[in-house]
Subunit: 193 residues, 2 copies
Protein backbone atom coordinates (compact mmCIF):
# COMPACT_ATOMS: atom_id res chain seq x y z
CA UNK A 1 0.00 0.00 0.00
CA UNK A 2 2.86 2.37 0.82
CA UNK A 3 4.66 1.65 -2.41
CA UNK A 4 1.42 2.00 -4.39
CA UNK A 5 0.57 5.31 -2.71
CA UNK A 6 3.99 6.62 -3.52
CA UNK A 7 3.78 5.56 -7.16
CA UNK A 8 0.28 7.07 -7.45
CA UNK A 9 1.48 10.34 -5.87
CA UNK A 10 4.14 10.43 -8.56
CA UNK A 11 1.38 10.42 -11.18
CA UNK A 12 1.79 6.82 -12.30
CA UNK A 13 -1.00 4.44 -13.24
CA UNK A 14 1.06 1.27 -13.47
CA UNK A 15 3.90 -0.05 -11.34
CA UNK A 16 6.06 -3.18 -11.22
CA UNK A 17 7.22 -5.59 -8.55
CA UNK A 18 10.69 -4.26 -9.28
CA UNK A 19 9.70 -0.66 -8.53
CA UNK A 20 7.73 -1.60 -5.41
CA UNK A 21 10.55 -3.79 -4.19
CA UNK A 22 13.09 -1.02 -4.61
CA UNK A 23 10.92 1.35 -2.61
CA UNK A 24 10.33 -1.16 0.18
CA UNK A 25 13.68 -2.90 0.34
CA UNK A 26 12.07 -6.24 -0.60
CA UNK A 27 13.01 -8.39 -3.60
CA UNK A 28 10.63 -8.24 -6.60
CA UNK A 29 10.32 -12.04 -6.43
CA UNK A 30 9.12 -11.83 -2.82
CA UNK A 31 6.51 -9.22 -3.74
CA UNK A 32 5.20 -11.36 -6.60
CA UNK A 33 5.14 -14.41 -4.35
CA UNK A 34 3.30 -12.60 -1.52
CA UNK A 35 0.68 -11.18 -3.87
CA UNK A 36 0.18 -14.55 -5.56
CA UNK A 37 -1.21 -15.93 -2.27
CA UNK A 38 -4.26 -13.74 -2.80
CA UNK A 39 -4.84 -13.99 -6.52
CA UNK A 40 -3.53 -12.70 -9.82
CA UNK A 41 -3.14 -8.97 -9.90
CA UNK A 42 -0.64 -8.25 -12.65
CA UNK A 43 0.34 -9.49 -16.04
CA UNK A 44 3.82 -10.62 -16.92
CA UNK A 45 5.56 -7.76 -18.67
CA UNK A 46 2.86 -5.12 -18.15
CA UNK A 47 3.03 -4.67 -14.37
CA UNK A 48 0.29 -3.82 -11.90
CA UNK A 49 -2.54 -1.35 -12.36
CA UNK A 50 -2.11 0.80 -9.26
CA UNK A 51 -5.76 1.64 -8.70
CA UNK A 52 -6.93 -1.93 -9.13
CA UNK A 53 -4.22 -3.40 -6.91
CA UNK A 54 -4.83 -0.75 -4.21
CA UNK A 55 -8.53 -1.59 -4.18
CA UNK A 56 -7.81 -5.30 -3.88
CA UNK A 57 -5.26 -4.80 -1.10
CA UNK A 58 -7.64 -2.55 0.82
CA UNK A 59 -10.26 -5.27 0.59
CA UNK A 60 -7.79 -7.96 1.69
CA UNK A 61 -6.53 -5.89 4.63
CA UNK A 62 -10.08 -5.08 5.66
CA UNK A 63 -9.56 -1.33 5.25
CA UNK A 64 -11.96 -0.55 2.43
CA UNK A 65 -14.16 0.35 5.39
CA UNK A 66 -12.94 2.79 8.04
CA UNK A 67 -12.45 1.34 11.52
CA UNK A 68 -13.40 3.40 14.55
CA UNK A 69 -10.53 3.17 17.05
CA UNK A 70 -10.48 3.95 20.77
CA UNK A 71 -7.31 5.33 22.34
CA UNK A 72 -6.92 4.53 26.04
CA UNK A 73 -4.59 6.88 27.88
CA UNK A 74 -4.22 10.59 27.17
CA UNK A 75 -0.60 10.93 28.28
CA UNK A 76 2.31 11.73 25.98
CA UNK A 77 1.92 8.60 23.84
CA UNK A 78 -1.89 8.73 23.72
CA UNK A 79 -1.80 12.37 22.65
CA UNK A 80 0.75 11.63 19.94
CA UNK A 81 -1.49 8.83 18.65
CA UNK A 82 -4.59 11.02 18.54
CA UNK A 83 -2.67 13.75 16.71
CA UNK A 84 -0.99 11.32 14.33
CA UNK A 85 -1.77 12.29 10.75
CA UNK A 86 -1.11 8.84 9.30
CA UNK A 87 -4.49 7.19 9.93
CA UNK A 88 -6.69 9.06 7.49
CA UNK A 89 -7.08 7.36 4.15
CA UNK A 90 -5.50 4.20 5.52
CA UNK A 91 -8.60 2.69 7.12
CA UNK A 92 -8.65 4.08 10.65
CA UNK A 93 -10.19 6.97 12.55
CA UNK A 94 -9.74 7.77 16.24
CA UNK A 95 -13.32 7.80 17.51
CA UNK A 96 -12.77 8.16 21.28
CA UNK A 97 -10.04 8.88 23.84
CA UNK A 98 -10.18 7.79 27.47
CA UNK A 99 -8.25 8.52 30.64
CA UNK A 100 -8.91 8.09 34.35
CA UNK A 101 -7.12 11.29 35.42
CA UNK A 102 -9.69 13.97 36.40
CA UNK A 103 -7.15 16.57 35.23
CA UNK A 104 -7.35 15.18 31.71
CA UNK A 105 -11.03 14.22 31.43
CA UNK A 106 -13.03 16.89 29.62
CA UNK A 107 -10.03 18.38 27.81
CA UNK A 108 -9.77 18.12 24.05
CA UNK A 109 -7.11 16.58 21.87
CA UNK A 110 -7.58 17.26 18.17
CA UNK A 111 -11.19 18.32 18.87
CA UNK A 112 -11.89 15.00 20.59
CA UNK A 113 -12.98 15.20 24.23
CA UNK A 114 -11.11 12.98 26.67
CA UNK A 115 -13.71 10.74 28.34
CA UNK A 116 -13.60 9.02 31.70
CA UNK A 117 -12.69 5.33 31.47
CA UNK A 118 -15.95 4.75 33.33
CA UNK A 119 -17.69 5.52 30.05
CA UNK A 120 -15.57 3.05 28.12
CA UNK A 121 -18.12 0.25 27.81
CA UNK A 122 -21.06 2.40 26.73
CA UNK A 123 -19.00 4.52 24.33
CA UNK A 124 -17.37 1.53 22.66
CA UNK A 125 -20.81 0.05 21.99
CA UNK A 126 -22.40 3.34 20.86
CA UNK A 127 -19.58 4.25 18.49
CA UNK A 128 -19.20 0.67 17.20
CA UNK A 129 -15.54 0.49 18.15
CA UNK A 130 -13.87 -2.89 17.53
CA UNK A 131 -10.23 -1.77 17.70
CA UNK A 132 -8.33 -0.06 20.54
CA UNK A 133 -4.87 1.37 21.05
CA UNK A 134 -3.56 1.05 24.57
CA UNK A 135 -1.27 3.80 25.88
CA UNK A 136 -1.54 3.41 29.64
CA UNK A 137 1.20 2.64 32.20
CA UNK A 138 2.36 -0.99 32.26
CA UNK A 139 0.81 -1.68 35.65
CA UNK A 140 -2.66 -0.56 34.47
CA UNK A 141 -2.61 -2.33 31.11
CA UNK A 142 -4.04 -5.74 32.02
CA UNK A 143 -6.94 -4.21 33.96
CA UNK A 144 -7.85 -1.91 31.05
CA UNK A 145 -7.61 -4.78 28.58
CA UNK A 146 -10.17 -6.73 30.56
CA UNK A 147 -12.55 -3.77 30.37
CA UNK A 148 -11.95 -3.47 26.62
CA UNK A 149 -12.62 -7.13 25.99
CA UNK A 150 -15.76 -6.98 28.12
CA UNK A 151 -16.94 -4.00 26.04
CA UNK A 152 -16.52 -6.05 22.88
CA UNK A 153 -13.21 -4.78 21.51
CA UNK A 154 -11.65 -7.43 19.26
CA UNK A 155 -8.20 -6.06 18.40
CA UNK A 156 -5.76 -4.23 20.66
CA UNK A 157 -2.57 -2.45 19.71
CA UNK A 158 -0.56 -2.26 22.92
CA UNK A 159 2.02 0.48 23.55
CA UNK A 160 2.50 -0.47 27.22
CA UNK A 161 5.81 -2.31 27.71
CA UNK A 162 4.13 -5.41 29.11
CA UNK A 163 2.60 -8.58 27.67
CA UNK A 164 -1.16 -8.97 27.91
CA UNK A 165 -3.40 -11.93 28.49
CA UNK A 166 -6.55 -11.92 26.34
CA UNK A 167 -9.14 -14.55 25.47
CA UNK A 168 -8.35 -16.24 22.17
CA UNK A 169 -10.76 -14.46 19.78
CA UNK A 170 -9.12 -11.11 20.61
CA UNK A 171 -6.04 -10.02 18.63
CA UNK A 172 -3.15 -8.22 20.30
CA UNK A 173 -0.07 -6.67 18.78
CA UNK A 174 2.68 -4.75 20.54
CA UNK A 175 4.47 -1.57 19.66
CA UNK A 176 7.61 -1.46 21.75
CA UNK A 177 10.41 0.75 20.46
CA UNK A 178 12.94 -0.99 22.70
CA UNK A 179 12.31 -4.34 21.05
CA UNK A 180 12.67 -2.73 17.61
CA UNK A 181 15.94 -1.12 18.74
CA UNK A 182 17.22 -4.40 20.15
CA UNK A 183 16.59 -6.03 16.76
CA UNK A 184 19.22 -3.65 15.38
CA UNK A 185 21.71 -3.50 18.25
CA UNK A 186 21.88 -7.29 18.08
CA UNK A 187 23.72 -6.74 14.79
CA UNK A 188 25.61 -3.60 15.82
CA UNK A 189 27.04 -5.35 18.89
CA UNK A 190 28.70 -7.85 16.59
CA UNK A 191 30.75 -5.28 14.73
CA UNK A 192 33.34 -2.78 15.99
CA UNK A 193 32.21 0.80 16.75
Amino acid sequence: MRALSRAADGGKQVTSSHEMGEHLGISPAQIRKDLSHFGEFGKQGTGYNIEHLSEQLRRILGVEQEWAVAVIGAGAIGKAIVRYGGFSGRGFRVAAVFDNDPGKIGRSINQLEVLSTERLGSTVRQREIRVAMLAVPAEAAQRVVEKLVEAGVEAILNYAPVSLIVPSPVYVRHIDPVIALQHMTYYLAQKPA
Copy 2:
Protein backbone atom coordinates in the same frame (compact mmCIF):
# COMPACT_ATOMS: atom_id res chain seq x y z
CA MET B 1 13.69 -10.30 28.60
CA ARG B 2 10.14 -9.17 29.35
CA ALA B 3 9.13 -12.53 30.73
CA LEU B 4 12.32 -12.75 32.80
CA SER B 5 11.85 -9.24 34.21
CA ARG B 6 8.32 -10.11 35.20
CA ALA B 7 9.37 -13.34 36.89
CA ALA B 8 12.21 -11.54 38.71
CA ASP B 9 9.83 -8.78 39.85
CA GLY B 10 7.68 -11.52 41.32
CA GLY B 11 10.64 -12.57 43.49
CA LYS B 12 11.56 -15.70 41.54
CA GLN B 13 15.06 -16.98 40.84
CA VAL B 14 14.17 -19.72 38.40
CA THR B 15 11.63 -19.84 35.59
CA SER B 16 10.58 -22.33 32.93
CA SER B 17 9.87 -22.22 29.20
CA HIS B 18 6.29 -23.03 30.16
CA GLU B 19 5.99 -19.98 32.41
CA MET B 20 7.69 -17.66 29.93
CA GLY B 21 5.56 -18.99 27.11
CA GLU B 22 2.38 -18.41 29.02
CA HIS B 23 3.38 -14.83 29.73
CA LEU B 24 4.35 -14.13 26.13
CA GLY B 25 1.72 -16.13 24.27
CA ILE B 26 4.42 -18.34 22.69
CA SER B 27 4.62 -22.12 23.00
CA PRO B 28 7.23 -23.48 25.46
CA ALA B 29 8.70 -25.56 22.63
CA GLN B 30 9.26 -22.42 20.54
CA ILE B 31 11.01 -20.69 23.44
CA ARG B 32 13.32 -23.66 23.98
CA LYS B 33 14.03 -23.84 20.25
CA ASP B 34 14.78 -20.12 19.96
CA LEU B 35 17.12 -20.14 22.94
CA SER B 36 18.89 -23.26 21.70
CA HIS B 37 20.17 -21.26 18.71
CA PHE B 38 22.42 -19.35 21.10
CA GLY B 39 23.55 -22.06 23.49
CA GLU B 40 22.38 -24.08 26.44
CA PHE B 41 20.85 -21.99 29.15
CA GLY B 42 18.67 -24.35 31.15
CA LYS B 43 18.61 -27.89 32.40
CA GLN B 44 15.84 -30.32 31.65
CA GLY B 45 13.54 -30.39 34.64
CA THR B 46 15.18 -27.57 36.61
CA GLY B 47 14.34 -24.59 34.37
CA TYR B 48 16.29 -21.42 33.74
CA ASN B 49 18.23 -19.36 36.27
CA ILE B 50 16.71 -15.93 35.71
CA GLU B 51 19.79 -13.86 36.48
CA HIS B 52 22.08 -15.98 34.34
CA LEU B 53 19.69 -16.10 31.38
CA SER B 54 19.05 -12.32 31.59
CA GLU B 55 22.77 -11.65 31.50
CA GLN B 56 23.23 -13.91 28.50
CA LEU B 57 20.30 -12.37 26.63
CA ARG B 58 21.56 -8.85 27.31
CA ARG B 59 24.91 -9.84 25.88
CA ILE B 60 23.29 -11.46 22.82
CA LEU B 61 21.05 -8.45 22.18
CA GLY B 62 23.98 -6.07 22.59
CA VAL B 63 22.35 -4.26 25.51
CA GLU B 64 24.76 -5.08 28.31
CA GLN B 65 26.12 -1.68 27.33
CA GLU B 66 23.84 1.37 27.15
CA TRP B 67 23.33 2.86 23.68
CA ALA B 68 23.14 6.63 23.30
CA VAL B 69 20.16 7.41 21.05
CA ALA B 70 19.35 10.59 19.13
CA VAL B 71 15.70 11.56 18.61
CA ILE B 72 15.06 13.66 15.51
CA GLY B 73 11.88 15.69 15.64
CA ALA B 74 10.46 17.31 18.78
CA GLY B 75 6.79 17.19 17.76
CA ALA B 76 4.14 15.05 19.45
CA ILE B 77 5.81 11.72 18.66
CA GLY B 78 9.35 12.94 19.38
CA LYS B 79 8.27 14.32 22.74
CA ALA B 80 6.50 11.09 23.64
CA ILE B 81 9.68 9.15 22.79
CA VAL B 82 11.91 11.40 24.91
CA ARG B 83 9.51 11.10 27.85
CA TYR B 84 9.05 7.35 27.43
CA GLY B 85 9.99 5.57 30.63
CA GLY B 86 10.67 2.21 29.01
CA PHE B 87 14.27 2.75 27.85
CA SER B 88 16.10 2.78 31.16
CA GLY B 89 17.44 -0.55 32.23
CA ARG B 90 16.78 -1.98 28.77
CA GLY B 91 19.93 -0.75 27.05
CA PHE B 92 19.03 2.70 25.72
CA ARG B 93 19.30 6.32 26.78
CA VAL B 94 18.08 9.35 24.82
CA ALA B 95 21.25 11.44 24.52
CA ALA B 96 20.09 14.24 22.17
CA VAL B 97 16.93 15.68 20.60
CA PHE B 98 16.90 17.72 17.40
CA ASP B 99 14.40 19.86 15.54
CA ASN B 100 14.64 22.51 12.83
CA ASP B 101 11.79 24.67 14.18
CA PRO B 102 13.21 27.83 15.85
CA GLY B 103 10.17 27.74 18.16
CA LYS B 104 11.30 24.37 19.53
CA ILE B 105 15.09 24.77 19.55
CA GLY B 106 16.38 25.70 23.00
CA ARG B 107 13.35 24.33 24.86
CA SER B 108 13.73 21.36 27.15
CA ILE B 109 12.03 17.96 27.11
CA ASN B 110 12.81 15.82 30.15
CA GLN B 111 15.74 18.13 30.97
CA LEU B 112 17.20 17.60 27.50
CA GLU B 113 17.64 20.73 25.38
CA VAL B 114 16.24 20.57 21.85
CA LEU B 115 19.15 21.25 19.47
CA SER B 116 19.09 22.62 15.95
CA THR B 117 19.46 19.92 13.29
CA GLU B 118 22.43 21.96 12.10
CA ARG B 119 24.28 20.57 15.11
CA LEU B 120 23.35 17.00 14.29
CA GLY B 121 26.68 15.89 12.83
CA SER B 122 28.90 17.34 15.53
CA THR B 123 26.64 16.21 18.38
CA VAL B 124 26.31 12.67 17.08
CA ARG B 125 30.09 12.37 16.95
CA GLN B 126 30.70 14.03 20.33
CA ARG B 127 28.10 11.97 22.17
CA GLU B 128 29.07 8.74 20.38
CA ILE B 129 25.56 8.16 19.07
CA ARG B 130 25.14 5.14 16.79
CA VAL B 131 21.35 4.79 16.96
CA ALA B 132 18.63 7.30 16.02
CA MET B 133 14.85 7.45 16.23
CA LEU B 134 13.23 9.41 13.45
CA ALA B 135 10.01 11.30 14.25
CA VAL B 136 9.85 13.90 11.49
CA PRO B 137 7.16 14.44 8.83
CA ALA B 138 7.21 11.91 5.97
CA GLU B 139 8.40 14.47 3.43
CA ALA B 140 11.47 15.38 5.53
CA ALA B 141 12.45 11.83 6.49
CA GLN B 142 14.75 10.88 3.60
CA ARG B 143 16.70 14.14 3.84
CA VAL B 144 17.27 13.71 7.59
CA VAL B 145 18.29 10.08 7.12
CA GLU B 146 21.02 11.15 4.74
CA LYS B 147 22.35 13.56 7.38
CA LEU B 148 22.23 10.82 10.01
CA VAL B 149 24.11 8.35 7.85
CA GLU B 150 26.69 10.98 7.00
CA ALA B 151 27.17 11.65 10.71
CA GLY B 152 27.88 7.96 11.28
CA VAL B 153 24.56 6.70 12.65
CA GLU B 154 24.26 2.95 12.00
CA ALA B 155 20.71 2.07 13.07
CA ILE B 156 17.52 4.06 12.55
CA LEU B 157 14.09 3.43 14.01
CA ASN B 158 11.68 5.24 11.71
CA TYR B 159 8.31 6.56 12.91
CA ALA B 160 7.62 8.51 9.70
CA PRO B 161 5.05 6.70 7.55
CA VAL B 162 7.40 6.37 4.59
CA SER B 163 10.05 3.90 3.47
CA LEU B 164 13.66 5.03 3.56
CA ILE B 165 16.63 4.36 1.34
CA VAL B 166 19.88 3.79 3.24
CA PRO B 167 23.27 2.39 2.30
CA SER B 168 23.53 -1.29 3.14
CA PRO B 169 25.57 -1.20 6.38
CA VAL B 170 22.86 0.92 8.04
CA TYR B 171 19.91 -0.84 9.71
CA VAL B 172 16.39 0.55 9.48
CA ARG B 173 13.22 -0.59 11.19
CA HIS B 174 9.79 0.98 11.01
CA ILE B 175 7.22 1.70 13.67
CA ASP B 176 3.94 2.28 11.89
CA PRO B 177 0.80 1.81 13.97
CA VAL B 178 -1.35 1.57 10.84
CA ILE B 179 0.54 -1.46 9.59
CA ALA B 180 0.20 -3.10 13.01
CA LEU B 181 -3.54 -2.35 12.97
CA GLN B 182 -3.92 -3.72 9.45
CA HIS B 183 -2.32 -6.98 10.62
CA MET B 184 -5.33 -7.38 12.90
CA THR B 185 -8.13 -5.98 10.74
CA TYR B 186 -7.08 -8.44 8.06
CA TYR B 187 -8.50 -11.10 10.40
CA LEU B 188 -11.42 -9.06 11.73
CA ALA B 189 -12.64 -8.32 8.21
CA GLN B 190 -13.07 -12.05 7.68
CA LYS B 191 -15.55 -12.49 10.49
CA PRO B 192 -18.94 -10.86 11.11
CA ALA B 193 -19.09 -7.79 13.35
